[in-house]
């Protein structure tokens, strides 16, 4: 049974409990993974006019599943945002990534993006250079820290002209210990905020 609240004057809850935890209670619940958030913050970077962004302390040895948020990607010149992974500290930049996405433009054009051999996984759609030309995305990353499994993604992203959903993979059994974001079409500098969370496990 999920545990609830501490202290007084807490919101109504369906399941009653005493509402106050002893130090022992806290330690025990924490060890069981029943205290605290089930989405745990790992890192955040806000960048302006950079060519790329790396997140290299992703706690892949702690979390099986990560959630990456990219907010307000805005390139200096027209471009789109791609992602590569670091494997044991070395960035994989070869055309080994695979992905499949459905896209839809607000003006009516729909289609498929897919590849069995590209040098990135797509994160944010193509954007122009106006300050309002931004895009955002959420991306789940699975199995990063498991050296015997591939690292998968599923994501949804949208910008000023279109939306896209789907997923990808780095089809190599390896430990992924970092994320690299870059302009994957023209290599333009960009601004954005990136936040990384671990999806909690016991």
């Amino acid at each position: 049974m999920p545990f609830g609240y501490t202290g007084q004057n807490q919101p109504n809850q369906t399941v009653s409990n005493s509402g106050v935890f002893s130090i022992t209670d806290v330690a025990e619940l924490q060890s069981q993974g029943k205290l605290g958030g089930s989405l745990e913050f790992i890192a955040e970077q806000t960048v302006s006019d950079v060519a790329n962004l790396s997140m290299t302390s992703i706690k892949e040895n702690v979390y099986d599943v990560h959630l990456l948020e990219v907010i307000g990607y805005n390139p200096v010149s027209s471009d789109r945002l791609g992602m590569q992974f670091f494997e044991s500290g070395t960035r994989e930049s070869a055309s080994v990534y695979q992905y499949a996405y459905q896209y839809g433009y607000y003006n009516g054009s729909f289609g498929e993006n897919k590849s069995t051999g590209d040098d990135h996984i797509k994160i944010c759609p193509d954007e122009g250079t106006d300050s309002t030309d931004t895009s955002s995305a959420y991306c789940y990353i699975y199995n990063a820290g498991n050296s015997s499994k591939y690292t998968f993604t599923s994501q949804q992203l949208l910008g000023t002209d279109f939306m896209r959903f789907g997923g990808g993979v780095l089809p190599q059994a390896s430990t992924v210990d970092g994320i690299y974001l870059f302009g994957d079409n023209t290599g333009s500098n960009f601004s954005l905020t990136a936040k990384l969370y671990g999806v909690k496990q016991i």
Binding site: N12, G36, T116, N146, F152
Partner: protein
Amino acid sequence: MSNLRLINETEITSSVSSVDITDVFSADFDIYKIVTNGIEDTTDTPSLHIRFINSSGSVISASNYDYAYLNMRSEGSFAENRGTNQSYIRGVFSFSNATHSQGSVTYIFNPYLATSYTFGLSQFSSYATAVRSIKNIGVLKQTASMTGFQLFDIDNTDFSEGIIRTYGLRVDS
């Protein structure tokens, strides 16, 4: 205190063709999030679907499920798939993933409400000979209380590892 609460974590450690996750849906939550990763087998290629388990502990296999999903293939044309009055919701956690596993996020709505159907939204990526990404919607058209769910392969293909985590999305009144 976070409104996303871990309820259950189940790790698959031996070869099985189905896993029952019981007593995870209750009156505490209306919306649940199921996160899976790493489900695979060394020799078989499981495709994993969902059925619900009612408050009597029975797996619902009646022909009361509808689903629709978009199979986004990196190596070929995308395909739509749909079914009505089926005995399970197809394509929720993986398709034919052999030794290279998968990852998925699924939201389940209203499972415990006996006056409502049980709905699901799912997205996953898995690898057979190339990556496939699926977006899926599904429903169990029974006004009955569900307390759990079953992952299974309709062809009884085994899977031998992986993790299934169930979270509740808390609403404070």
